[in-house]
């Protein structure tokens, strides 16, 4: 036996520390849970999922699933989830394209274009997303003219009642048309959806532009020089030499941005778009089932995040350059 007392023994100490922390956490959690159960049973709200089947009694303005007020809360939440997914998919594609363009513009030979890209990124990143969403919805989209005065080109019409896009319907190409009842087009996005999409795309696009810029900057200057000495020009150098190498750095950064996009889509409420969060809030107000609603929300967003991470990890493995 050496003379070290047990409370200074390096083999005992870590376990003692962990046991202490673990015990403290357990005690706190147990205390909170006891309170929760006691308070919930006092309010008559013990965990139950039966309310999911009850009729919701509220209507949703636009859904992918057919929905009306007589259908259940469960279906309302599902419709909200689908709306959230729709926003995420559209915004993901849009912000990636915008971010890629702006990120590449930061390396343009044209000084004005470089400056403009810089101004866009600095302007958008330093103003809160919620403020931008409110601005797009209330100031821009709700101030659009309607009817014959609507802004637009033949294939795309922007009116107060929404965004009308040309497309295939009944087997033929159709442009938006002004009928007596208003605009008609194969693809119609509500003004709430369009505002939310615009806000998300411009905001996340600025962050993606920074990711792309960082990725391109990480490619050694010698690669540009070697490519141009082989006779390639600006766009071709980017396309064939620089971007493939930059992707290694870009993709992990993109994953973070996509996940933050998924979480940011929960601000749809500000534009009056009924996404998962806004349906959940209405549900809570009507049923008072706070704990269950929060569990649904957290599980849904966690699942979306995991889905994005898994997909992006797959992509990441694809773009990693195999070095000899």
């Amino acid at each position: 036996m050496n003379g070290t007392p047990w409370w200074r023994d390096r083999r005992v100490l870590p376990w003692l520390l962990q046991a202490g922390v673990g015990l403290a956490v357990l005690v706190v959690v147990a205390w909170l849970m006891t309170n929760l159960v006691r308070n919930l049973s006092a309010a008559g709200l013990l965990l139950s999922w039966r309310w999911l089947g009850q009729p919701a009694g509220f209507d949703l303005s636009e859904t992918l699933l057919p929905f009306n007020a007589s259908m259940s809360y469960g279906r309302a939440l599902l419709a909200g989830l689908l709306n959230t997914l729709r926003v995420i998919v559209f915004a993901l594609v849009g912000s990636s394209l915008l971010g890629l363009l702006v990120g590449m513009a930061a390396f343009s030979r044209n000084g004005l274009l470089r400056g403009l890209a810089r101004v866009y990124v600095e302007l958008v990143r330093n103003v809160p997303l919620l403020l931008q969403l409110l601005f797009w919805y209330f100031v821009v989209f709700l101030a659009l003219p309607d009817g014959a005065a609507a802004l637009g080109w033949p294939a795309l019409v922007l009116a107060k009642s929404g965004l009308y896009i040309a497309g295939f319907a009944d087997g033929r190409w159709q442009l938006p048309q002004l009928l007596a009842s208003g605009w008609q087009a194969p693809v119609h996005l509500s003004v709430e959806f369009a505002a939310l999409l615009t806000g998300l795309i411009t905001y996340i696009g600025a962050f993606i532009a920074e990711v792309v810029r960082g990725g391109i900057a990480s490619v050694p200057a010698g690669q540009w020089e070697a490519a141009s000495s082989l006779g390639l020009h600006g766009a071709a150098i980017l396309r064939h030499i620089v971007l493939p190498q930059a992707l290694r750095v870009i993709v992990p950064g993109l994953t973070n941005q996509y996940i933050s996009l998924a979480k940011a889509s929960s601000l749809a409420l500000a534009c009056g778009f009924t996404d998962l969060y806004s349906v959940a809030e209405t549900t809570l107000n009507q049923t008072g089932r706070a704990v269950e609603v929060v569990l649904v929300l957290l599980a849904a967003y966690l699942a979306i995040d995991l889905l994005i991470s898994a997909a992006m990890n797959g992509l990441n493995r694809l773009v990693q350059v195999r070095e000899r």
Binding site: L36, N39, L131, E225, L297
Partner: protein, 420 residues
Amino acid sequence: MRKRSAPSPIAFAAAAASPLKRLQRQLAPSAADALLSLGLVALILWAALQLLGWAMGRADWAVVQLNSMLLLVGRYPLAEQWRLWLLALLLALQAGLSWGLLRAWPRADRREQARLWPRHDRIAGLLLALLALLLPFALHLAGPLQWRWWLLAAVLLAGRWAAGRWGQQLPRRALKLVAVLWPLLYLLGFWLIGGGLGLAAVSPGDWGGLLLTLLMASFAMALSFPLGVLLALGRRSSLPLLRWGSVAYIEFIRGAPLITLLFVGQNILGFLLPGGASPDRIWRAAWVLTLFAAAYLAEAVRSGLAAVPPGQLEAARSLGLSQPQSMVLVVIPQALRVALPAMVGQFIALLQDTTLLSLIGLLDLLGTARGIMANPEFLGHSSELYLVLAVLYWGCCASLGLGSRALERRLDPRSVASRR
């Protein structure tokens, strides 16, 4: 600032060319670029003219003028507002002193003696002075308000000048003193704002506007910082229970949107505490913000910890420092220096995230503004408010970013080495 690594084959030639030639190389290196530049110039001019025409003509700034105090401090009682002015004055003095002292240090990347007013400072100081001179007129502020506004700017610039002028003659201890003054001033601020101890109490329900926004953001920043460092250390710990606990917490928080967590804070926290002993709504939201920010900050700090070579810890241990000593004295300072940009990025995000408080019914800057917009008296003038809000938020976030970059340069190891 790091140099862009993409080569600019014309950069060397451009440096020597005439201004006109330089402009041509920047804007029109080729015919296609010339066309593009022309289009962009037209677009920018058009947008600028539209904005100017709107701001000068159709915009009605009465909505901002009439509500300026509401936007700044919410429904803070008029009789107690002198406390806020006093606090603002102290903050301006402290900010000016800190700015001047930072400048009094020689820069890491330049050998020459520090100048009193480097170019960037001249621009910043001029802008500040201009802003302070013009803003009261632009907003049609009343006489006393105007004077207080000018006093604030004067104190800030005077502090900057005095500290920059004589800062170098002070011993290094003075610098530490200024750093310690910030948290003290913060506590003093809470006392001045909230009252108590001889001052009339002002309940949190009456705090609002920009005051509430800054208070919430700074509270969450100050408390999430130690929490984030602990979580980051926990995540890198060799003890499995601490590690998995930290990972679970960080990933759980980072997986959920802030709005759902605020929702939890407002709707479930009351159930988690014994019989209705729930704190005020504002404090509940402040704690949720803090716990939220801590998880993100932990990731920033973790990246810093990962950047410190393991040899540093080994060297510290072999010098006889204990494990906690070597962490606190050797590893964490280096990690924080590396993590500083990422941490400030998180702080900026946190400041922006305070806008979400308006969605749960608190009257922060955005919440107050939305209340004003809902007032039929100001119907149709939301654009003016949005613009003012955007400028305010942009200013706060951009100045945080600028401050961080200045601090980064000062914390550069080379500058420490040059000062022994």
